[in-house]
């Protein structure tokens, strides 16, 4: 006998009043928050060495002397769904409206290096982003878009080198000089092992793919951002602000160390490293996090690695508001959450920003919801006046104290991770994964007890919810992608595919840079799945021991 049941959306009411006067408060990272901060809280903070001036080492107050005076942050909204044709259409509309920056979301099969016809791709093609299996898809995705004239951010990690090779070949066919291309590949495999779990190969060969892109771009695509070291996903997985800061910056240090170990000079590749942080609810702690991040990076690059160029010291970062904070209950509340989070990102000096849409607890955003999210940024930028002053919280007793505490907390994590032998070793030991699982469970327990209030979820609830319109992605993308894949396989030269994949396999067993053989395989229309499988054969696949 089958029955269906209505599931209560809220925990049973308790008699505990939320926010009673006697409560003490902490930041998300667990630091007690006092009622009042005074100059006594600045003890141990050196105004010159710790805070300094905007545009000057250690950049606590920002990497530009004039803040947003020279240029507002880039409003870069992430988009992609279905087939390359559909996503190309959305890009064309965006560029026609005056945009110059594209940001590509790929679907899960692409992110995992699987073709649309692989059994594990069942039901996933085109769902979370656009499907790209061969160079033919990439040509369609950027059809009519001059790659020399746009900047393109591509959120791709484990197969980043392959997707980047496809992008370079599209540029080559447009006769666009590689040295003029500008954009970013996320290419941050460490946070995949730590948090988002879209990994393919074990950590060490995965790191080699990353350092191969560092070296290749330093020589041939000098304006390309080779990596976006990401705290965003670490935070979404349940880390505190402090853990996000510490693990992300320590990941950055790990990449620099591996780059140096691979024979690169620090000032040759570090200026092309960028960062990506979350903007969550705890307003002041978020601002302190960005300020501490800049100081930690500048100090590590100068003192730990001996970088001499200022470009190597300056931490540039993108921010996205916290997807995990969005609620399915009373979804219009999400507009307010997003606005507060975005404001924290701006006051923390973000260089670019993505604001989430109100409907993302349900599905990918509708075009209307995505527009409202962009308008939120424009209101902050053009109406609130907050961008007129550089680092307006500089000198605040509270924010400077928090900034210093975040820095010290991160340095303590760095020490623990250094003692484990670095971030790759710490990941292999499950350390950051355990720390995050612990924090996320503790947070959920606080929500359950109503120590943490989520408006509309565990307090201020409404019995009747009005449903909102959401985007529904049907299955037609799968059919069309399977058809194109079959056509590509029918017309390409099988001999050329075999030859280039064999060359890739041979190179994977040596220490040679893999970008040239990847470019050759892509030019021969080898599929993403075939290329990734070739490397799977050589390196094996990573399987984590689940940490609960």
């Amino acid at each position: 006998m089958r029955r269906t049941y209505n599931v209560p959306m809220t925990p049973a009411a308790t008699d505990k009043p939320a926010g009673a006067a006697t409560r003490s408060f902490t930041t998300v990272s667990g630091r007690p928050v006092e009622r009042l901060y005074t100059d006594a809280d600045l003890a141990g903070i050196d105004p010159a060495a710790d805070i300094g001036e905007p545009g000057q080492f250690p950049y606590t107050r920002g990497i530009h002397a004039s803040g947003y005076g020279g240029k507002l942050w880039t409003m870069r909204q992430f988009a992609g769904f279905g087939t390359p044709e559909e996503t190309n259409g959305r890009y064309q509309r965006l560029l026609a409206a005056g945009g110059t920056g594209l940001s590509v979301a790929f679907d899960l099969p692409t992110l995992m290096g699987r073709d649309p016809d692989h059994p594990l791709s069942l039901g996933e093609v085109g769902k979370c982003g656009v499907s790209v299996a061969t160079l033919a898809d990439m040509e369609q995705l950027f059809d009519g878009i001059a790659l020399a004239d746009v900047t393109t951010s591509m959120t791709i990690n484990s197969p980043a080198a392959v997707i980047f090779a496809m992008y370079l070949v599209v540029a080559e066919r447009q006769r666009a000089d590689w040295s003029r291309l500008s954009g970013t590949i996320q290419n941050d495999i460490l946070k995949e092992f730590i948090a988002q779990k879209e990994y393919i190969y074990p950590p060490r060969p995965s790191m080699r793919l990353v350092t191969d892109t560092f070296a290749f771009c330093a020589a041939q695509v000098p304006r390309w951002n080779t990596i976006s070291v990401s705290g965003y996903h670490i935070r979404e997985a349940g880390a505190t602000a402090l853990q996000e800061l510490a693990f992300t910056l320590r990941d950055g240090i790990e990449y620099v160390q591996w780059g140096i170990d691979a024979g690169l000079a620090v000032d040759e590749f570090v200026p092309r490293i960028s960062f990506f942080f979350n903007a969550h609810n705890d307003f002041f702690e978020e601002i302190a996090k960005y300020r501490a991040a800049r100081k930690l990076w500048a100090t590590a690059m100068r003192d730990r690695f001996g970088a001499r160029e200022e470009r190597s010291w300056k931490l540039r970062f993108h921010t996205q508001t916290a997807g995990v904070s969005l609620t399915a209950q009373q979804p219009y509340n999400n507009v307010v959450r997003t606005a507060i989070q975005a404001l924290a990102g701006v006051l923390g000096g973000t260089n670019s920003l993505h604001t989430n849409s109100l409907d993302e607890a349900f599905a990918l955003p509708t075009e209307q919801a995505a527009t409202l999210a962009l308008r939120t940024q424009q209101i902050i930028a053009h109406e609130s006046g907050v961008a007129h002053v550089v680092d307006p919280f500089g000198g605040s007793f509270f924010v400077e104290r928090l900034t210093k505490d975040m820095e010290e907390g991160a340095l303590a994590y760095f020490e623990r991770i250094d003692r484990m032998g670095g971030m790759v070793a710490a990941i292999e030991a499950g350390f950051p994964q355990r720390e995050i699982a612990e924090s996320s469970y503790r947070f959920q327990q606080a929500v359950e007890r109503r120590d943490a209030v989520i408006v509309g979820v565990n307090d201020f609830t409404q019995p009747q919810e009005t449903p909102i319109a959401t985007l529904y992605i049907d299955e037609s993308a799968t059919t069309r992608q399977l058809e194109r894949l079959a056509r590509v396989k029918a017309v390409r030269s099988a001999a050329q595919v075999d030859r280039t994949l064999a060359a890739l396999r041979a190179a994977a067993g040596t220490t040679a840079n893999l970008m040239p053989p990847l470019l050759d395989a892509v030019r021969a229309y080898a599929t993403l799945g075939e290329i990734c499988d070739t490397l799977r054969d050589v390196w094996g696949e990573y399987e984590e021991t689940p940490v609960v």
Binding site: P11, L111, G123, E124, E198, A361, A363, Q444, P546, V548
Partner: protein, 148 residues
């Protein structure tokens, strides 16, 4: 046969599974710990399990409950396959519940397939614990084995 009124005779055994390609496992891990803290025995499969692997795990572990965590939009493909496999192996009495990003329009279809509980974002851990305790099959003492 499900019998809602029977008291629990032994520990409820739950397989928590992440099917599909998605790696966002925060929800799966949190609920695994919550069920464990509520006194259930929890087996977490880890990532990227096929319906076949999940059903095998449930059979091997003599699970009373399968909990699926899906955030990628693949639920309409995974659920029918999983329910068919359970039926083929005469495991219809296993309580199947699902959490994640599931559009409202898909819920009636999932329930018609036999997914008894669908838990959207914001569901409290206690609500899920209570649901499982209420709807799990009547548990027999360990020695009498599986009752189809």
């Amino acid at each position: 046969m499900t019998n809602d009124q029977q008291p629990v005779a032994r520990t409820i055994r739950v397989v928590i599974a992440k099917p599909g390609l998605d790696g966002h496992d925060r929800g799966a891990k949190v609920i695994a710990r919550a069920l464990r803290d509520a006194g259930m025995e929890v087996i977490y499969t880890g990532l990227r399990q096929t319906p076949e692997q999940i059903v095998s795990a449930a059979l091997q572990e003599d699970a009373d409950v399968i909990g699926l965590s899906i955030l990628s939009g693949a639920h309409n493909h995974i659920a029918p396959r999983l329910m068919q496999l359970l039926h083929d192996r005469q495991m219809d009495d296993v309580l199947v519940v699902m959490g994640g990003i599931i559009p409202d329009v898909d819920v009636p279809n999932l329930k018609a397939l036999g997914i008894q509980g669908v838990f959207p974002p914001g569901t409290s851990m206690q609500a899920i614990v209570d649901f499982i305790r209420l709807h799990v099959r009547a548990l027999e003492p360990e020695s009498s084995g599986r009752q189809g």
